[in-house]
Amino acid sequence: MVKIGIMSFAHMHAYSYAACLKQLPNTTLGAVWGENPRRAKAAAKQFDTQYIRDINDFLEADIDGVIICSENVKHRAMVDVAASAGKWVLCEKPLAPKPAEARRMIRICNRAKVGLGTAFPCRYSPALIEARKQIQGGEFGDILAASCTNHGQFPGGWFADESLAGGGATMDHTVHVVDLLRWMLGREFTSVYCELGNQLHPEEISTDDLGSLHLEMEGGIQVSHLASWSRPKSFPTWGDVTIEFIGTQGVLNVDAFNQKVDVYSDAAMKTEWAYWGSNIDLGLVADFAKSIEEEREPSITGEDGLRAVEVTAAAYKSARTGKRVEI
């Protein structure tokens, strides 16, 4: 039985990971800690596990690994203490706002001889797995270009507080797609140009709520990516992950979460999409548990997290300087 604890419920994905831990065989949610005691206590109750108030007590508890779901800027400090306590770590994305912090996290985990994983659950999406298989099987020839989106509704709270998130929508919604393209095409990113917008939630936030990125990958693959909180409250779902791949032998379109039933309910007075696709978090959490059992790195590593953070940081630099930035 692999025992895993959760550190912080600041990021809503923590609730999904907790549910996965309960659902998977041979894993348990061993304990919960959080800087916000009330929120952590409520989560412990919801998932029927112990809440530990003191972080040192939590780290001494009988758990093998931790999933860290704090605000982005707090990831590094939590990884530090968890790794020093000998725990395997799965960290929510982005690994850290700054590449230097992500590098340090990798170093600390290496030194402590614990595994470090980055939460990129999209790699467990059956649609994306199938797309990768077809692309790598050469069914579309050489991939020359890709046009991507990761749109979302405005999540509110700390996500748009630069001092906690390290940025806005571009920080939040770039890393998934960057990681997917690296994973699917087996190439690294070499440059980025970025325009940042902040006109969609003018009253509420001061960070960017939209990033329009133009990137290049090794081999000259041309990529555009839209990272945004542009979906209005009335939108039928949270957002999307889409990629159009242009290959020498054809075009492949992925709309990763386009498995839904349209729901028209007078009670809601807006159209909603009921998702029936697979739970991608389950694969991510299962791999993490397995990596602990087998004492290996999680499949999606800290390095993967770092590579994505490097691209995001370069995008912000590009927006600041008005220039294309080499990565």
């Binding site: 020359l144 133009h214 041309q222 945004s228 242009i246 220039k323």
Partner: protein, 324 residues
């Protein structure tokens, strides 16, 4: 009023139909390729010419429609202005901004009317998007994305595959959307672009462009001539209070023929309207010639659209953003 058509294939044929619907008379069909001129002339009882400049200067011609490949627009505009004919020119206005300037100056000096066919301004779906935005349905707009394209026009041997002539998907096709974005959101500040522009027997182009407008709005435009088949347009605009979205794949007609040259799986969506946008541009143009108000798009707009496309092409070539 009598019309001379110069350039008698794809767009020439389409315009001939619109011209007839508007009750105008086509007197001569001119094309460098005699067969093309003959084929079109036969459908409208017009005379045939392979000498466009001579044909358009005929006494009985009032209006010249220019539907040749883009790099020949200027010479026919100059010839038509010299002959004191009013001019309907397909987009892109000309191949370069410099050429556009010459064309405008010639029309002005000759006191002839010059119209550039940015037909997307007349498409009902785009007019509806514009109206919804103007009504405040999405609050203050902050972001727009337009996607347009499909199969490479005419294949590897057509003039479209000669990027020096056509400017690729960026100048030839995306220019529709660059113009519409400027129409609705005002002037651009800077532009960044990427494009494939692959040549050879099996040419492909795929352009990805972002414009920052003076009002802060970000517009990302994708143009494709990289698809194996079909044609599709998608547009979305997001604002502080909502979003509007359109996709041409959502159409009232979807035909799937068992026996089709393009293959059994080719689905062609159809979206018929009572008044074709191409007919609407002709009606506005004719009203203008008859003393009515100026059309919603003028030659200066045509120049500005070429300027945006040129800037995008410069960025595509240099890898750096271009300030306008």
């Amino acid at each position: 009023m009598n019309v001379a058509i110069v350039g008698c294939s794809g767009m020439g044929r389409l315009h001939a139909e619109m011209i007839a619907r508007c009750g105008l008379n086509i007197v001569v069909c001119a094309d460098a390729n005699a067969e093309a001129a003959e084929a079109l002339a036969a459908t409208c009882g017009a005379e045939v010419s392979t000498q466009g400049k001579r044909a358009l200067a005929r006494k009985d011609v009032d209006i010249v429609l220019i539907a040749t490949p883009t790099p020949f627009h200027l010479e026919y505009i100059l010839a038509a202005a010299k002959a004191k004919k009013d001019i309907f020119c397909e987009k892109p206005f000309c191949r370069t901004v410099d050429e556009c300037k010459k064309a405008i100056a010639a029309a002005k000096a000759a006191k002839v009317k010059l119209f550039v066919g940015h037909v997307v301004r007349y498409f009902q779906e785009f007019e509806t998007l514009r109206a919804q935005i103007a009504e405040g349905k999405i609050g203050e707009p902050g972001f727009a994305k337009i996607y347009r394209g499909g199969i490479f026009p005419g294949g590897g041997k057509s003039w479209f595959a000669n990027y020096k002539m056509s400017g690729g998907v960026t100048l030839d096709c995306m220019i529709h959307d660059l113009d519409w974005i400027r129409y609705v959101f005002g002037e651009p500040k800077r532009i960044f672009g990427q494009a494939l522009m692959r040549g050879g027997d099996d040419p492909m182009d795929y352009a990805q462009v972002t414009m920052r407008m003076k009002n802060g709005l970000i517009a990302t435009v994708i143009g494709t001539w990289a698809h194996p088949s079909g044609f599709r347009v998608k547009a979305e605009v997001c604002g502080s209070g909502g979003m509007v979205h359109f996709d041409s794949a959502d159409a009232p007609l979807r035909a799937q023929k068992r026996d089709s040259a393009s293959g059994p799986n080719m689905i062609v969506p159809g979206s018929p309207v009572a008044e074709s946008p191409y007919e609407l541009e002709w009606r506005e143009f004719i009203a203008w010639l008859e003393g009515g108000p100026a059309p919603r798009v003028n030659a200066h707009d045509g120049l500005k659209a070429v300027q945006m496309a040129e800037a995008a092409l410069t960025s595509i070539q240099t890898g750096h953003p271009v300030r306008l």
